[in-house]
């Protein structure tokens, strides 16, 4: 029963990782850019929410409604100011640019907010620790369950956007062949900027999940990036539903590892990531095809 409980808790933790990772996966799938500032941007969103909810006293939901469009605008600007310019110079430059951006963000947050850890758990009352009892004496936290539902809705929404909307078609066309997309009238710059804005919406939801379920500080970003990166690699880079699978596998591995040894939480997650990464590098074509980019496979 204990094992089942750990798997269940790992599944719920995986929901958070999926929310965290889906933006990273989406940006890589669409623009072939690995955004190393992803975790730091999620922490920026968490700080914005905390700032509105704690010092200013806004309701967390109202704060989220204000932060979502602000972060989307930031994503739009980020595309034109950093991502597009750096992507023109080769595949390595966006990595360096976003790495530098992450350093700037982390240190700016440290300078402004100090080293204290923050959380929004107090702002949502008992939801932070309330749970539902399942048959067999198992308990699931209400907040982690809601985050898992959010992950499914978010990934389903992104999938529906790509498969069923004009913007989604344009994103997929530009992702597959930007030159040809322009030749059929697609404004690829605008489309990629919109994709960046959408990514930042997911980043904001990840930041909100982080702030509600745990504590964060100015240097939490790199740790979140590692979890997101591992989930993306486990699930298949650019794969939306694979991201959910990757998050769940990572969460379950971490929870089971923690049962073996107190340090096993992180070690088991990293070990699982490495095993799957090596399998993907050295496995045959069948496995690679299985993990291939579903953004390109998405159909109505």
């Amino acid at each position: 029963m204990n094992l089942l409980n750990q798997v269940l808790q790992g599944l719920l933790l995986g929901g958070y990782y999926a929310v965290l990772a889906c933006g990273l996966s989406f940006m890589f799938g669409v623009m072939r850019i690995i955004n190393l500032a992803h975790g730091s941007l999620a922490v920026v969103a968490a700080y914005l929410l905390w700032w509105l909810a704690e010092p200013l006293g806004w309701h967390p939901l109202l704060a989220l409604l204000a932060v979502l469009p602000a972060m989307a605008l930031l994503g739009w600007a980020l595309h034109y100011l950093v991502l597009e310019r750096s992507a023109r110079l080769g595949a390595l430059v966006p990595l360096l640019a976003t790495f530098g951006l992450a350093s700037v963000i982390d240190n700016a947050l440290f300078q402004h907010f100090g080293a204290d850890t923050r959380s929004l758990a107090n702002a949502i009352g008992t939801l932070a620790y309330d749970s539902w009892e399942l048959p067999g004496g198992l308990y699931v936290g209400q907040l982690p369950t809601l985050v898992l539902v959010l992950a499914v809705l978010l990934l389903g929404g992104l999938h529906a956007l790509l498969a069923h909307t004009p913007l989604g078609r344009q994103i997929r066309a530009a992702s597959e062949d930007a030159d040809t997309a322009r030749l059929v009238g697609v404004r690829t710059g605008t489309v990629f900027a919109a994709a960046s804005a959408i990514t930042m919406v997911t980043v904001t939801l990840a930041g909100a999940s982080l702030a509600l379920r745990a504590t964060f500080d100015p240097f939490s970003g790199p740790q979140q990036l590692i979890f997101a990166f591992e989930a993306v690699i486990i699930g298949g880079a650019g794969s939306l539903w694979g991201t959910l699978l990757g998050g769940v596998v990572l969460g379950v591995a971490q929870n089971l590892g923690a049962q073996v040894h107190p340090q096993g939480f992180l070690i088991a997650g990293h070990a699982t990531f490495l095993v799957i990464l090596l399998a993907r590098l050295y496995a045959g074509g069948a496995l690679r095809r299985f993990f291939s980019n579903p953004l390109r496979r998405a159909t109505p």
Binding site: R172, G185, V186, T299
Partner: protein
């Protein structure tokens, strides 16, 4: 067949284009009027594809001017040219292979141009696509893919359609199907500039033939006033300024076009 009284649509003035350091299009001037069907012929590497891509905005001109209805569009982005009514069916079709036929057609609505061509009218022109609408474009036969490529360009409601090697790699039956459909397209008033290697077909469909050699235009004349032998000679650069017998077959208007070009080719 060339309707010189019709309005000027496209004017290419002394355009140059390079691939890196290599000149691909050299000082090319060309004019296309509403209703023209202009065929660009020439050997591989003559600069035909680069010229079409430069006109469509997919390749940057390194010199000269491209005008659309008199306005300079040399620096205009490709998607804006599509919105102006200029569409290219690229060499190799360049479909979005992971997307369905339906999606390939619908994505071309992005330019927002309205006109005769819609999803339904494109399917009327290419009925072979109807049962394949939900198939991935990458899974289709060459002829079907070419139909999607042309249909996708038509979805932008172009006034000028640029077609690059539409018959390349297709069976004779598929080529015939493509040209039958293009006859319908021109019947709707769309102007065509096409790159084609099949000279017999070029002479059958084109109102004007432009021959390119090593990046330059070496002949530009009405199709019914150029013999197959003359085209072939231009194609291989065999024309010489003193080739009076050949030149005599070309009327004064065409001769004026080709006179200085012969000197360059010699």
């Amino acid at each position: 067949m060339s309707s010189s009284s019709n309005a000027m649509l496209l004017s290419i003035e002394s355009v140059n284009a390079h691939h890196g350091q290599l000149p691909a299009v050299r000082d090319v001037s060309l004019q296309v009027r509403q209703g023209d069907i202009v065929a660009l012929v020439g050997a591989n590497g003559a600069g035909k594809t680069t010229l079409l891509r430069t006109v469509a905005g997919a390749h940057r001109a390194s010199g000269g001017t491209v005008r659309w209805e008199g306005a300079d569009i040399t620096r205009m982005p490709a998607h804006q040219r599509v919105a102006e009514g200029l569409a290219l069916v690229p060499e190799g079709r360049r479909l979005f292979t992971a997307m369905t036929v339906r999606e390939n057609l619908l994505v071309a609505r992005a330019a927002g141009r309205r006109g005769l061509w819609s999803f339904d009218t494109v399917l009327d022109a290419f009925p072979q696509l109807v049962p394949k609408l939900d198939a991935r474009a990458g899974d289709l036969s060459g002829g079907q893919q070419q139909a999607v490529a042309i249909g996708r360009a038509l979805m932008t409601n172009p006034r000028l359609l640029l077609l690059d090697e539409v018959s390349l790699g297709l069976s004779p039956l598929a080529v015939q199907g493509v040209y039958d459909a293009l006859r319908g397209v021109t019947g709707q008033g769309t102007t065509l500039v096409l790159v084609e290697q099949d000279l017999q077909r070029v002479q059958a469909v084109a109102s004007r033939i432009v021959c390119m050699l090593e990046g330059r235009v070496v002949a530009d004349a009405p199709a019914d006033q150029l013999t197959r032998e003359q085209i072939t000679a231009h194609y291989f650069g065999a024309q010489r300024p003193g080739a009076a017998a050949d030149a005599s077959a070309v009327p004064a208007e065409a001769a004026a076009h080709t006179h200085h070009l012969h000197k360059e080719a010699a």
